[in-house]
């Protein structure tokens, strides 16, 4: 019984590499918010979590959002809380930022900027990839 409890608590559990890929702009659809909530849930399972922002997903991290006028939740500040959940691996694809005229200085959190080949390699080494 105590062995089983250990397993359930994750003490002996298998740690897999999980990647969450975010490719949608915030607010226009629910994908960005739902994706973020699933990442927060995943933090409870002590897995090796990476978040990737590519294509319109880089817009999720823009500083200075003010959602009052459209009466929806501004969840962009939640990205800054991710390190409190031990989710510290945030990656942004450089080509996606370049295509949108954005730089790291425009983003609300510290990220690692990868070129497309580096991103491809990172994706290839994951056990599980979940896309939004």
């Amino acid at each position: 019984m105590s062995d089983m409890m250990d397993d359930m608590e994750g003490g002996e559990g298998v740690v897999k590499k999980f990647m969450f890929v975010n490719r949608k702009a915030p607010h226009g659809t629910i994908y960005a918010l739902e994706g973020l909530e699933v990442v927060l849930v995943s933090a409870a399972f002590d897995q090796d979590v990476s978040m990737v922002f590519a294509d319109d997903g880089v817009y999720e991290l823009i500083k200075g959002m003010n959602t009052k006028g459209i009466e929806v939740k501004d969840f962009s500040k939640t990205y800054r809380a991710l390190d409190g959940y031990d989710i510290e691996k945030l990656y942004v694809e450089k080509a996606s930022m370049d295509a949108r005229g954005l730089t790291e200085a425009d983003l609300i959190v510290d990220v690692t900027v990868l070129d497309s080949a580096e991103m491809a390699n990172l994706m290839a080494e994951q056990d599980v990839v979940i896309s939004y």
Binding site: A25, I62, M65, T67, G69, I70, R100, L102
Partner: protein, 99 residues
């Protein structure tokens, strides 16, 4: 005619189709994720700048604010609030939403 576009130009072809089929003198209002097209530095900026020769381009302010994009709006794009949105609709004979 008032053309309304609500999809990101880097995800869908709605804006491209709209600009191709909008006749001279028409108004194009960018709302929701389409407002990114009206911002500086992006790949859609050149399309919008070229279109301004023949079309009036508007963007919805609350959608720009929500996306942190208000300070990046291209010169020549007119930012309107919800009241301005209503005015555009009432001033024109018909609207087309490029969903």
């Amino acid at each position: 005619m008032l053309h309304i576009v609500n999809k990101s130009a880097t995800e869908r072809n709605s804006l491209e189709s709209c600009l191709r089929m909008a006749t001279k003198g028409s108004a194009v209002l960018l709302i929701e994720d389409a407002v990114y097209a009206a911002t500086k530095g992006g790949v859609a900026a050149a399309q919008i700048q070229a279109a301004m020769a023949d079309l009036q381009i508007y963007a919805l302010g609350p959608d720009l604010d929500a996306r942190g994009m208000s300070a990046r709006v291209l010169d020549g794009v007119k930012v309107v609030d919800y009241g301005g949105f209503v005015d555009l609709v009432t001033e024109t004979n018909a609207c087309q939403s490029w969903l």
